[in-house]
């Protein structure tokens, strides 16, 4: 274990902390370290959210376990039955993966909305999910795609649904020493899947005031086999609207007219539980859920119809 001190007291920097620093060579070593060091040890991925928390003294730690160099978690691969995204894949890697699969193209477009190009080279997919912000751009898309997360622990791996992974604002299903390993997006064995994400923001660099993602899986004959609609920034966790998605299943693409898409939006907005804050009022957010859901579904239909 190396030791480092960042102690720029006073006028030059905003970082004022003293901690031990470790650079484990493998994920298992990282977990072991965490188990030895306990509560006051934190994993450090891209650090883009952690730095802010640290600056605002919202977190303190005695030990930094730097996992940035863990290549074993830094990958994006397309398999016949799934897309696997390593937790340490950077947002910029995801952004550059659009060619590999059309769902990755959807995700790539989402990353372009996130922070700035500079920050995207640091920020990681896993870090974004572990921060568990209800306004996260990736989370609703992963939920709509029915993604699973793979979690590494001292006793091996376990899998959790993306929706179940989020337990509250900044709260996830990770326990103790556990480390996020991978996001797995299942691909349909037959037919086609399409997904789309829409959000309301203010300027080019912003977080979503309200967002929604939809995913539709259709059979070769154009019948909708699966539908999933996820909403962000309207509750402490990502909301999955069964009421909006369910009526779509069994329909054909051609049957999905404007009225049906609008009805899905209406149903989804009833599932949203937005608050009013400096960014937007609850009423506006609820109204925009209707528009975002309708538009994201229309995007999916358009993609599937080619």
């Amino acid at each position: 274990m190396n030791e480092a001190v960042v102690d720029e007291s006073g006028t030059d920097g905003v970082m004022r902390a003293r901690f031990d620093y470790a650079r484990p060579a493998t994920a298992q070593e990282a977990i072991k370290l965490k188990s030895q060091l306990g509560e006051k040890a934190r994993y450090w991925a891209g650090g883009t959210d952690m730095t802010l928390l640290w600056q605002r003294s919202e977190i303190q730690f005695d030990h930094c376990i730097d996992i940035r160099q863990l290549d074993e978690l830094d990958y994006i691969s397309v398999e016949p039955d799934s897309i696997r995204i390593g937790a340490m894949a950077s947002l910029s890697l995801l952004e550059r993966s659009a060619e590999a699969h059309h769902l990755l193209a959807t995700l790539s477009d989402i990353t372009k909305l996130m922070c700035t190009p500079q920050t995207r080279t640091l920020a990681t997919v896993g870090g974004n999910l572990c921060n568990a912000s209800p306004a996260s751009d990736l989370s609703p898309a992963f939920v709509a795609m029915n993604a699973q997360v793979v979690i590494l622990g001292e006793d091996g791996e376990r899998s959790v649904g993306m929706f179940e992974f989020f337990e509250g604002v900044n709260k996830t299903a990770l326990r103790g020493t556990e480390l996020l390993k991978e996001v797995t997006i299942p691909l349909p064995s037959a037919g086609q899947i399409a997904a789309s994400y829409r959000r309301i923001d203010r300027t080019v660099v912003d977080i979503a005031l309200v967002n929604a993602a939809s995913a539709l899986t259709v059979s070769d004959s154009g019948e909708i086999k699966k539908a999933s609609i996820a909403l962000g920034a309207v509750a402490p966790v990502i909301v999955r609207s069964e009421a909006a998605a369910q009526p779509l299943i069994g329909r054909t693409l051609d049957e999905l007219d404007d009225a049906m898409l609008a009805a899905a939006g209406e149903a989804a907005s009833k599932d949203a539980k937005p608050i009013s804050d400096v960014r937007a009022s609850a009423g506006y957010r609820r109204d925009m859920v209707k528009v975002m859901v309708r538009r994201s579904l229309a995007d999916c239909v358009e993609q599937l119809k080619g």
């Binding site: 309301i200 300027t203 080019v204 977080i207 005031l209 400096v278 960014r279």
Partner: protein, 782 residues
């Protein structure tokens, strides 16, 4: 100094800004980067209440904390009022009363910032909570909580001409308005800090400031010490837009350093910069305007309120938009400055012309619609052109009585060469509107009022035009001066205390001096921050730097040139008349023989003197011989801007698709610098139009979005990359080489252009800022 000359050698060239390399490599030092030896760290204790008086303050626990060097409270502070430029602050450094959440209450100096922060928590303050008022309308009612001993409301500033009743009777169409403006934050890119160090009874102050001289005056007033004992060394402040003039935390730093007898630095956090210093006023316009069937404005009657927050003391925000629409036959404008228990409000870029000006533009647009006139034509018909009378001409404290008395008070020998006072000396909006309309293809793209040119599902697209005017510096607080020194080696230095706020004047002032002296640009450097070496200067505010300081720099250069040529004529050219000499590329030669071999460099001339024993100086110092004419009475800058927007009527989101900005600032001294000024203003105006506003807590007035996550500024990518900037150079009879001011009309014009374009797209006027939510609400209400 005439302006007929057009074949300039340095002026008009797009010279790179002198500090570009330092800026892009990060080596330029701002006040936050600076340290002095044995420097303590200071922190300010801030008031948690909107209005409260200190009953008892116990600093003993804080003082006992190891590492604490001293605590400053109101009991240590001389109870003198000090004033920032243009009444942007008036009050005592600390007086035992907090007038807004975040107001300065006390300050701690310690060996480190953490210790100082910790010590703040140990100061025990017992407050008497006073009734507070956040709403300016309530603050002016009788019986409202008294925020200031002078009363909450200033005397109204009134401009009137003709008879508005008569104008109203002549009108075929009349419209009225009641518009509220939210508060814009300067939102500087950088933070600020102040270091003060005393040597005996003299103090040196390092801070990022646009107004070094005004800060020196403020320290003098607050402490009651002679001006000669105060030295301000203003550092670059990056973008400032009016925020970093002379601010109370600077005065507190000076007092804290004096108390602990050690240099101290107070460095503000981002949140302190955004929530405790200054902001644009909250404003409200109620007004009426009427016109004839053929679109001649017959009257304008405007009542405008501005909230000064706790310590602002302004009574006006802008008579410049009033002047711009001065062809109105009758007018009555009243502006009322009112204090509230909100953070201090002050001048921000385009003060008044962004708000009052936007209201006047909105009224005019609505009249134009009633008269069924194109907004470009309506503006040309009703806006001022050179030679027209200005409306800003009535009694004003700092103008020595009414217009005629004022003119009579000026010695005739001074005013004989001046332009006609109270008349526009140059420029106007006609040329820029015509030029812009052509470049934007206005006639093709304008489809009539409230008519989008394209509808694509929920997306509606339309165009709009707006105009803005502003003064080119003011003379009310003193005449800005400059000094030019020619060194024995032939290089020159300009000394003018305008600070450095990123608008390129380190370069453009040198261009003015280079042109006048006949020296290459790289032989000239500039000092903009040291009040010990620079004469008094108003600083870079009110768009004055090129116009009023540039005039002084040119006059000082001309004086230095005259002295140099006198010596050269006597020592090298057999005593011919100095007027028969000229300077090219730093060499003096006979005017009639530009290629003559009889050429002498500045250094030859000056060293000739140095070798003598007559005790003559070996360097030359030039200064303006007379004050600059009072340009508030004749000079204005103008901007006309054209915008295309797309409005999503379902989400309310506005996208700016295309933009043309045309600027009349007289001669363009540096096209690259001016282009940046204009486009920066347009983006800032568009940002104010669609997003920027501070959110105040309804109960306490505390600012809830003092961060750049929730205070939304437009980024470059939010603005069309193909935006064009065009110049109309109507030369000015007084300004340096025909140049005028530039920084503030572009922001005002952009606000109105975007607002009108949105109206044309959706058929509803939306209050500013036109956030997505407000657009949807306005559409639902319509």
């Amino acid at each position: 100094m005439g302006t007929t000359q057009r074949n300039f050698s340095v002026v008009g060239k797009g010279a790179h800004v002198k500090d570009a390399r330092e800026k892009v490599t990060g080596s330029l030092k701002y006040a936050v980067d600076l340290k002095v030896q044995n420097m303590a760290s200071g922190k300010i204790l801030r008031c948690p209440h909107p209005h409260a008086k200190i009953v008892r303050i116990d600093t003993s626990k804080a003082e006992a904390l190891p590492g604490v060097l001293g605590v400053l409270t109101h009991e240590d502070v001389p109870q003198n009022d000090w004033e920032s430029a243009w009444f942007n602050y008036r009050g005592k450094a600390l007086d035992g009363t907090g007038r807004f959440v975040g107001d300065d209450i006390a300050a701690v100096a310690a060996q480190s910032e953490e210790i100082a922060e910790h010590a703040l928590e140990l100061i025990d303050v017992e407050y008497e909570i006073l009734p507070h008022v956040l709403d300016m309308e309530k603050a002016r009612e009788s019986g409202a909580p008294e925020i200031r001993c002078e009363g909450n409301e200033r005397d109204p500033y009134i401009v009137k001409w003709g008879d508005t009743d008569e104008g109203s009777a002549q009108a075929d169409f009349t419209v009225d308005c009641d518009i509220f403006y939210e508060s814009q934050q300067y939102a500087p890119l950088g933070r600020n800090a102040c270091i003060a160090e005393w040597l005996g009874d003299k103090v040196t102050v390092w801070t990022s400031s646009q107004t070094p001289s005004e800060l020196r005056d403020g320290v003098h007033e607050a402490l009651g010490i002679p001006l000669s004992k105060v030295r301000v060394m203003a550092m670059p402040c990056g973008s400032s837009f009016g925020q970093w003039w002379s601010n109370n935390f600077m005065i507190i730093t000076v007092l804290l350093a004096r108390k602990i007898r050690q240099a101290v630095k107070i460095e503000l956090t981002n949140e302190e910069c955004m929530a405790t210093v200054k902001r644009r006023h909250l404003e409200r316009t109620r007004g009426k305007m009427g016109c004839t069937k053929d679109g001649q404005i017959t009257f304008a009657q405007i009542d405008h309120l501005i909230d000064n927050g706790g310590y602002g003391f302004k009574d006006d925000v802008g008579f410049f938009c009033v002047d711009m629409w001065g062809k109105a036959r009758n007018g009555h404008y009243a502006v009322h400055g009112i204090n509230t228990n909100l953070v201090t409000a002050g001048c921000m870029r385009g003060v008044g012309d962004c708000t009052l000006g936007a209201s006047v533009e909105r009224l005019a647009d609505r009249l134009a619609e009633k008269a069924d006139m194109d907004p470009v034509d309506f503006r040309i018909k009703n806006q001022i052109v050179a030679g027209d009378e200005l409306r800003m001409q009535h009694s004003r404290d700092n103008m020595k009585g009414n217009r005629d008395a004022y003119i009579a008070s000026i010695p005739p020998h001074l005013r004989k060469d001046w332009p006609e006072l109270f008349h526009l000396s140059a420029g106007g909006t006609r040329a820029i509107l015509e030029r812009g309309a052509e470049a934007f293809r206005w006639k093709e793209r304008w489809k009539g009022w409230a008519t989008p040119h394209t509808v694509d599902g929920p997306l509606k697209r339309a165009v709009g035009v707006g105009t803005g005017a502003h003064v080119c510096g003011v003379e009310f607080e003193g005449s800005s001066s400059a000094m030019v020194r020619i060194n024995p080696d032939g290089s020159a230095k300009v000394h003018c205390a305008v600070g450095r706020q990123g608008r390129g004047s380190e370069t453009t002032q040198c261009q003015v001096a280079a042109e006048e002296l006949g020296l290459p640009l790289d032989m000239i450097e500039i000092e903009t921050g040291d009040t010990d070496s620079c004469p008094w200067n108003h600083g870079s505010l009110a768009s004055s730097t090129m116009y009023r300081t540039g005039w002084a720099t040119r006059a000082a250069s001309n004086d230095a040139r005259r002295q140099l040529l006198e010596i050269a004529a006597r020592e090298f050219f057999d005593g011919i008349a100095p007027e028969e000499l000229d300077i090219t590329d730093g060499e003096i030669h006979p005017k009639e023989e530009p290629r003559s071999n009889r050429r002498f460099t500045f250094s030859q001339v000056l060293n000739e003197l140095r070798s003598e024993t007559l005790g003559q100086t070996s360097s030359i110092t030039g200064r303006p011989a007379v004050p600059m004419p009072p340009s508030t009475t004749f000079a204005r800058q103008f901007g006309a801007q054209f915008a295309e927007v797309e409005v999503d009527v379902e989400t309310g989101k506005i996208k700016i698709l295309d933009f043309v900005a045309v600027q009349d600032s007289g001669t363009v001294v540096n096209p690259q610098v001016l282009k940046n000024q204009v486009i920066g203003g347009a983006i800032c105006g568009a940002g104010f139009a669609i997003y920027e506003h501070l959110v105040f807590d309804e109960e306490t007035g505390a600012i809830k979005n003092a961060n750049l996550l929730d205070y939304k500024l437009l980024r470059c990518a939010d603005f069309p990359h193909q935006a064009q900037v065009l110049f109309e150079e109507s030369p000015d009879p007084v300004g340096p080489f025909g140049a005028r001011g530039a920084g503030e009309s572009p922001i005002a014009a952009g606000i109105s252009a975007v607002s009108q374009a949105v109206y044309n797209a959706i058929g509803v006027w939306v209050d500013l800022p036109m956030t997505p939510e407000r657009v949807v609400r306005a559409l639902n209400a319509a």
